[in-house]
Each structure stands twice: as structure tokens, then as C-alpha cells.
Amino acid sequence: MRTPLSSLTLLEPRTLSDALRFLQEGGPPAPLAGGTDIYVGLEFGLETRKRFLNLWELAELRGIRLRKGLLSLGALTTYTDLIRSPLVRKRLPILIEAARLVGGVQIQNRGTIGGNIANASPAGDTLPVLAVAEAIVVLRSLDGERMIPFNAFYTGYKKTAMRPDEIIASIEIPALPGRPWFRKVGTRAAQAISKVVMAAVVGEQPRIAIGSVAPTVVRCPRTEGVLASGGPLEEAELTLLEEIRPIDDLRSTAEYRGRVCVNLLRSCFANRRR
């Protein structure tokens, strides 16, 4: 049942420090950016929080820049901002590929990278990209700044290492050590939630991350190890099937997801140049 929206409180901080102060209050409010996930939850009565913190107006959380050699994305960077950014195109083109496959343009204009991370869905389209890029999540609270490696950010299904008094301020992304690769498999090209979404880096130290095959997005270190040591692709495929934990759900079956992962691995690494 739809949540009655008139019963909800929206706190409107003017600055980031105002926002962080609101988060200190008991039963801290839920951060709200573009609303593309929260409003779906409200529509279906799945979003039970009653107080929200409006981040959308906070300029301090916007902007795409290079900082100390890292690509730095403000948490409010929208998918459209990513798609339009020459810097992202140069540094991390697979993030643009992922952004272009999120919903339609209307969603790309409103959905944010910080929101995709905070929402913690195992199917989040940008998450495998951030995992292979070994991104760093920068959190802010009144206590200051805390940096968490993206690959340590999720602690379980829809669970993160964030404290309730923290918000995501930015995402910092180092340069990739090889050729990037990305592929999303869904029901149709546009507007589909992924059945399997995979990002990889092909090079001396191969990296593989897959979404929608486990409670969180996962890196596949054992498969990466097989490929790094020059092992045959067949061995890497078998290792990958041991390493992922796909489930049957309304979008797909575990068996299908396993097959797709193997096929994606093959199409990515069949012509690997080391």
C-alpha cells in the first residue's frame, strides 16, 4: 500500500554541515537525493522511514574533478552528469556504459552515484564498475571524514559499513591498470533491472566483479588468480561458478545466471592480451 506522503517530514539543510547536524539527532533522517529508489519504495509501502533529509540542493556534494590523481565524483553526480563528462569518458569509460543502461533518460537525470551505492542493491548497475576500479567511498559526519574501500563497503544484503550519522560525500577512483570491459544482461536493452551485470579489467592483474549473483556485488579473486597465472579459460570458468552464489528470483534462475556469467567471462577474456 502506498505510504501517505503528507505524513512524511523533509528536513531542508542549506549546507553540508547543517545536513550532518541533522544526522546527529536521534532516529536520524534518511538521506534523499534524486528519489528514484526512495519514491519507488514509498509507492509500494516498502519504505518505512518517516523523516527524510534533502541532499539535492547541496552544491558541496556535486562535481566531477581530478584530485591527487584520482577521479573524484561528488555523491550527487547523476548518471546524466557521468554520461556528459569528458573526464569520466577519458578515465573510466565503462562507468558511462553502465550509466547509459540505468533506466531511461528521466531516471538518468535524477539518479545519483551516491544513491546507487547507498541503496546497496546487488543489482546496482554502476557497482561492478566501482568494484573493479577499486574505488574509495568518502563518508562525512560531524566527526570528520572516513574513507572505506568500495570492496569493503557492503557487509551483507542491503547492509553497508556506513554509520547512521554518516553520508556519502564522494567517490574517489584510481586509474585502471588495464583494458576495461562492461556488460549488462537484462530482459531488454533499456529500463531493465539486470539479471547479471559484469565489469572487468583485462591485463596482467585481471579484475572481475559481478552484480546480481550474490547478496552484494562481488569481486572474484580466485577466478582473477587463475587468469593472472595464465591458467586455461576453462579452469577460470569452473572457478567462477564456484565463486558466485546466484539465486532464483523473479528476474531469472540461478542456473541461467551461472551460464551467463561463464559466457560473459569467455567473451571478455577469450582474446586476452597480457
Binding site: L5, T9, L32, V40, N54, T80, Q106, I107, N109
Partner: protein, 143 residues
């Protein structure tokens, strides 16, 4: 809460988390903006905010404060005539969203741009061919 609606400055008293869609339909009586799915899949509720298309079913009223909102009621564009001429509108539920999204794609987009740009707008009548014919520039115009 103040914003600009179809070129006019307006003020409304409504809860800040109320969906822009409901504010338009209930508080302003502008029922041209349609509700389809209520979850950002179908694009029927598309409006422009500062020229960018978004789903008004996923947007809190608060997020248009001080901004410019355009709904189908504020559109007078030759594109509407092309929807009529090409059969781009049938039952009409998707049409306002289709037109607003198309306007955000710029003047006479390529077929590819139109296809990708309208990926978030669903139509159950036309099979899309007539819509794309209405929106995308014709082959002969392409030179």
C-alpha cells in the same frame, strides 16, 4: 513553495514530499500529466524541470522550488502537429510524456537519438514506429 509553472510564477501550499505529479494534477488541475506505473518505468508522467526531463511520480515537490516546470499544458510546438499527422498518438496516455521527452532531445533528433531518448517512455498502442516517425528527422532531411 514557489516555482515557475509553464512560464507563470506560482505558489502552492502542499507537503514537501508530495509527488510533483499529484501537485500538478490536484493542486493545479493540470491533468495532462498522466500517471502510468508510479515507479519510473513508463515515462507517462514526464515533465521538464529547468529543461531536463524527469518522472514527476518520483519527484518531491520540494525539488522544484525556484525552478521552471513545463507540463504538456505549457507546450505549443510543431512536434504536436507531427504526432497528429503521423499517427503518433492513439489512446493518448503516453503522448504528453512522449512529447515532453522528445522536446528535451533537441530539434529533429536522429532516429538513434530518438530511440535511445524515448527508451524510458512506454506505449502500448502504436508499436513505436509512428511515434519515432513523428519525432525523428526524416532520412531525406538528414544531409
Amino acid at each position: 513553495m514557489r516555482f515557475t509553472l509553464n512560464g507563470k510564477r506560482v505558489s502552492v501550499e502542499a507537503p514537501p514530499m508530495k509527488r510533483l505529479l499529484d501537485v500538478l494534477r490536484e493542486d493545479f488541475g493540470l491533468t495532462g500529466t498522466k500517471e502510468g506505473c508510479g515507479e519510473g518505468e513508463c515515462g507517462a508522467c514526464t515533465v521538464l524541470v529547468n529543461g531536463e526531463a524527469l518522472c514527476s511520480c518520483l519527484t518531491p515537490l520540494s525539488h522544484v522550488a525556484g525552478r521552471k516546470v513545463t507540463t504538456i499544458e505549457g507546450v505549443r510546438d510543431p512536434l504536436q502537429g507531427r504526432f497528429v499527422a503521423e499517427g503518433g498518438a492513439q489512446c493518448g496516455i503516453c503522448t504528453p510524456g512522449m512529447i515532453l521527452m522528445s522536446l528535451a532531445l533537441g530539434k529533429s533528433p536522429s532516429l538513434q537519438t530518438a530511440r535511445e531518448g524515448l527508451a524510458g517512455n512506454l506505449c502500448r498502442c502504436t508499436g513505436y514506429t509512428a511515434i519515432l516517425r513523428s519525432v525523428a528527422r526524416k532520412r531525406k532531411e538528414r544531409s
